[in-house]
């Protein structure tokens, strides 16, 4: 089977879902990314990425936590699946390996 590859925003969202530990839904993810990476994607872009990740099986979702802000509508919370965790690990390993190589050649 072909290995799933992650897009740049997908990777960022996946990492954020993992780091938010159970509190991850579109708006918090958006804010986290804004805070950590200093960029502000459209909330609709986050939705679309999340739907894609769920379809690929990297995240699962469950409903809950309605607030007045939302007109009483529930949130969709996302959590990392095992497959999601694996793909993140692999991606990070590739990056770290390459980064280390760069450091040994050029110095920090």
């Amino acid at each position: 089977m072909k290995r799933e590859s992650l897009g740049e925003l997908e990777e960022l969202v996946l990492l954020t879902v993992g780091s938010l530990a159970g509190q991850a839904y579109a708006v918090t993810i958006l804010e986290e990314i804004a805070e950590q990476a200093g960029r502000k994607p459209d909330v609709t872009a986050i939705h679309s990425v999340l739907r894609r990740l769920e379809a690929k099986g990297f995240v699962t979702s469950s409903m809950g936590g309605a607030t007045a802000d939302r007109g009483g509508r529930r949130k969709r919370f996302f959590t990392l699946t095992v497959a999601g965790r694996k793909v993140i690990d692999e991606t990070m390993l590739v990056r770290m390996g390459l980064y280390k190589k760069l450091l040994t050649i050029q110095g920090s």
Binding site: D42, H47, S48, R51, M63, A66, R70, G71, K75, R76
Partner: protein
């Protein structure tokens, strides 16, 4: 609650969004919305929300929505499939619909192209909105008005020096010069243009420098086709072209080549030389004259500058120059937009003729009318078909189709037909353009642009909707119960259907009557007794002495040369009635003179300088006094003849032996009065005319002079032979012997006279085309309706035949409803035609009667056509064996 986002955006989101995704997605958007509202206020938040709703519209969000799948969008492909099957099933009906619509579309496109070309005349210049042509209007009260869009030469400098709003002013003069050296010199129209001409206008310069088109004083610009005409395939740049300027022949070097000017341009020339030559061409006097008009002056207004400012300052500027000659407000200069020139009849024409805007609108309206009746045709036929489709509608409704679904389905049918018709119609139009041009004398050119595709698609959609919308609503409005019970449908729609049929007949009958009236008027004008004989009369332009400057010298030297030609022509047995004069019939305007008479009344009259034989040559009758006599010295010096209109105008009760009322005239005496003959076109009444052999005494006494036709003398003769082609041979031979270096220029007077009514004749031809097409459409419509009627009553006809009905009874049965509608249409068309046509006829001073007979003829024609169609169907229907028709089920 004001803290909520716009309701419609919410509804839209709820409509398209997958229900499983809706709750959290909408919740998230709400959250974002509330945050945004606290940060930047409700308005910004609303906008953000709408934006997000639109951005959320992604395949992943709508993928499985049932609503969209069921909706009309998703049904399009299916609808077209069904439409195609329905159309293929009923081939006759489809063919009739298609042909009708195609004809309507082709007619609409042809007329549309013509109209578009007329109204977009001169629109191809990129600075068209800033270019104006100046006019000059001298108004001294009491009708003493001189209005001209050809202006004095000095206007160019006047504009450039006095108005900061003016970016550039350029001028153009048109005049004839002999081009070439030695033999085969050709008399060509040569433009004299300002060197910065191409900075204002967008004409394409193919070779040479656009900024400096004239490299030296004696440089010449020629068009591509003239480059080919004079230099063949050689490179024309730097080649020499000789022009005769006054008595000298000067060499001009080609310094630029321009593309041939587009047809839709009011400015046209093929040869141009620099206006820096003006002083040599026109003399010092003309350069500074205020009251002698020679050139069209075009002004380019600066961007952001207002034309009104120029107009406001104009009188101050004029008075700065002319305060001694005129009073304020007498010498007016104005500006007319370039794009207004072609269709504005209120400003006199400059060098290019002006079209009649009325005719353009008439043709546009007729093109549209024919299209409308084609659409109506479709509508009536579709409704006629409705009986057959009632069950289909019923079934669909039972199975849950809503009215809107059905409307869309029927509209897809008409759209399909319209698009096919549009395609065929467009191809047909493209193929027909050359035929159309030769048939009507119009000059349409097709240039393809990409946006035309979209325009065509748009027009196709519009036609499809227009033709299909009514039947679609009628068909989809059927009530299920009554359909399935097999009952008939409500009667209300019949009124509308009959109304449409009446309208269609009305337009057709109206067009037939209009065509007939126009034809009558045009042939009336072409055949009216003008008061002189002009059959087989030939006019030859004579050659005046090139050195002649004054008009009297031009006339005298031209006539002197004419005597040589006359002597040569007299030898030919088929040439008779030779005469000479400054003007011949069928020209665009004889010399106009004006003066103030002894009672201080401003008087204008037309003026003709003749030899003793001219009036006899044309058989013009002198009703009082006598004609000029050959060799009568007194006649040659001072005798004048006036027409009856002049006698009335000057108030001369016993004109013979009297004089014209004016002190300044030289010695003269009226020896005769002619009957009124129409020396101008029949658009206007006969004007006062003074005829003389010697122009001097009259020219002495006048203050104003205006001439449109060239006053260079012409020789006229009647050719009595049977072979008109022989005229050319005779003239070629004799002319060559006497004037070997000059080009021969001759014409047939009757052709010239016909040409005066060219516009009317062309309009008539265009409308004839439209009329024929509309008749064809009407026949098609009737044919289609009859097929439907006969089919739906096939059993009835069968039973009647069994009971012993004759074909005539069946004819009466079938024709009853149509004939009555046709009669209503004919009656209604009479006042409409009368009203519009009397307006049109008011353009002519001499006009034909409309007459009752004409309406009888067009009414009968329409009835006859309808009857023929019905008879055809009666025969068909009555020939079927009743056994066959009764077995139908």
């Amino acid at each position: 609650m004001s803290s909520n986002p716009p309701r419609w955006a919410d509804r839209f989101l709820e409509w398209y969004c997958h229900p499983d995704l809706l709750e959290d997605l909408q919740g998230d958007l709400y959250e974002v919305y509330q945050k945004r509202r606290l940060e930047s206020g409700k308005r910004a938040a609303d906008l953000t929300y709408v934006w997000l709703v639109i951005r959320s519209l992604r395949i992943s969000a709508i993928g499985k929505s049932k609503r969209l799948k069921n909706s009309i969008f998703m049904m399009t492909a299916n609808n077209f499939k069904i439409a195609f099957r329905v159309l293929a099933r009923d081939k006759i009906n489809t063919a009739i619909n298609l042909v009708g619509l195609t004809i309507g579309i082709a007619c609409f496109l042809l007329m549309g192209l013509y109209v578009k070309q007329e109204i977009s005349f001169d629109h191809f210049h990129s600075k068209k909105d800033r270019i104006y042509r100046s006019w000059v209007k001298e108004d001294y009260g009491e009708g003493k008005i001189f209005f001209n869009s050809v202006t004095p030469l000095r206007f160019e400098d006047l504009f450039e020096q006095n108005f900061p709003e003016v970016e550039a002013a350029v001028r153009i003069t048109q005049e004839n010069h002999l081009v070439g050296r030695g033999e085969n010199r050709i008399d060509e129209q040569v433009a004299v243009i300002s060197p910065d001409f191409f900075k204002v206008f967008d004409f394409e310069v193919i070779a040479g420098n656009r900024e400096v088109p004239f490299q030296e004083l004696r440089s010449v610009i020629i068009s591509e086709s003239y480059a080919r005409k004079y230099f063949g395939d050689d490179d024309p740049m730097g080649k020499v072209l000789s022009l005769q300027i006054a008595e000298n022949i000067e060499d001009f070097k080609v310094s630029a080549v321009i593309a041939d000017m587009p047809h839709a341009s009011s400015i046209r020339f093929d040869i141009a030389v620099s206006a820096e030559n003006s002083r040599r061409f026109y003399g010092e006097g003309a350069m500074n004259a205020w009251f002698s008009v020679l050139a069209e002056t075009y002004v380019l207004i600066r961007e952001n500058a207002e034309v009104q400012n120029v107009n406001d300052k104009m009188q101050d500027v004029v008075m700065g120059y002319l305060s001694e000659e005129v009073e304020r407000g007498q010498y007016n200069i104005g500006l007319q937009p370039l794009t207004d020139i072609h269709l504005n009849p209120d400003v006199p024409a400059g060098f290019a003729p002006v079209s009649n805007p009325q005719y353009v609108y008439i043709l546009g309206a007729i093109g549209l009318l024919v299209l409308i009746i084609a659409c109506i045709n479709y509508a009536t036929l579709s409704i006629g078909q409705s009986l057959r489709r009632a069950r289909e509608v019923g079934m669909r409704k039972v199975l849950g189709a809503g009215q809107s679904t059905l409307v869309v389905q029927y509209l897809s049918e008409s759209l399909l037909v319209a698009l096919i018709a549009m395609t065929i119609g467009t191809v047909l139009t493209v193929l027909l353009v050359p035929t159309f041009n030769t048939l009507t004398g119009a000059q349409i050119f097709l240039t393809f642009r990409w946006w035309h595709l979209f325009a065509y698609l748009g027009v196709g959609l519009a036609i499809g909707v227009a033709a299909g919308i009514y039947p679609a609503f009628v068909l989809s409005g059927f009530r299920i119960v009554s359909i399935l019970r097999g009952g008939s449908q409500g009667g209300g729609r019949h009124v509308a259907q009959k109304g449409m049929l009446v309208f269609q007949f009305l337009v057709t009958v109206f067009l037939i009557s209009t065509t007939l009236i126009m034809k009558k008027q045009v042939s009336f004008m072409q055949e009216k007794d003008l008061g002189f004989n002009y059959k087989s009369v030939v006019s030859v332009t004579l050659q005046p002495d090139p050195a002649a400057q004054r008009l009297t010298q031009v006339i005298a030297s031209g006539m002197e040369n004419g005597k040589l030609l006359k002597a040569a022509l007299q030898k030919h047995p088929d040439v008779t009635d030779i005469g000479m004069a400054t003007h011949v019939f069928g020209s665009n305007g004889w010399t106009q003179l004006a003066y103030t008479d002894d009672k201080n009344v401003f008087r204008r009259f037309a003026f003709l300088n003749v030899d003793a034989n001219y009036l006899k040559s044309f058989g013009i009758k002198v009703k009082e006094g006598r004609d000029f006599e050959e060799g009568n010295g007194l006649d040659e010096r001072q005798s004048i003849i006036i027409n009856q209109a002049a006698a009335d105008y000057f108030g001369l009760e016993n004109p013979v032996d009297d004089k014209l009322p004016g002190k300044e005239f030289g010695e003269h005496r009226i020896i005769g009065v002619t009957e009124n003959f129409n020396f101008t076109s029949l658009h206007s009444q006969v004007e006062p005319l003074v005829i003389t052999e010697n122009a001097m005494p009259i020219l002495q006494g006048i203050s104003d002079f205006n001439v449109e036709d060239s006053p260079v003398p012409k020789l006229v003769f009647t050719y009595t032979g049977s072979n008109l082609a022989e005229v050319q041979n005779i003239l070629d031979k004799e002319w060559e012997a006497i004037f070997p270096n000059e080009a021969l220029d001759f014409s047939f007077v009757d052709q010239k006279i016909q040409q005066q009514y060219e516009n009317e004749a062309r309009l008539n031809k265009l409308i004839t085309v439209a009329t024929i097409l509309s008749i064809v459409i009407a026949i098609l419509g009737l044919l289609g309706l009859m097929v439907l009627v006969v089919n739906s009553r096939i059993k009835e006809i069968g039973i009647r035949k069994v009971m012993g009905a004759t074909p005539i009874t069946i004819f009466a049965l079938l024709s009853k409803s149509f004939i009555s509608q046709l009669l209503v249409a004919i009656v209604l068309s009479v006042p409409l035609t009368l009203w519009l046509m009397s307006k049109w006829l008011a353009n002519f001073a001499y006009r034909t009667e409309i007459g009752v007979g004409l309406f009888v003829v067009s009414g009968m024609a329409a009835l006859l056509v309808a009857a023929l169609v019905i008879v055809y169907h009666t025969l068909r229907a009555s020939r079927i064996n009743p056994v066959e028709s009764l077995r139908v089920e």
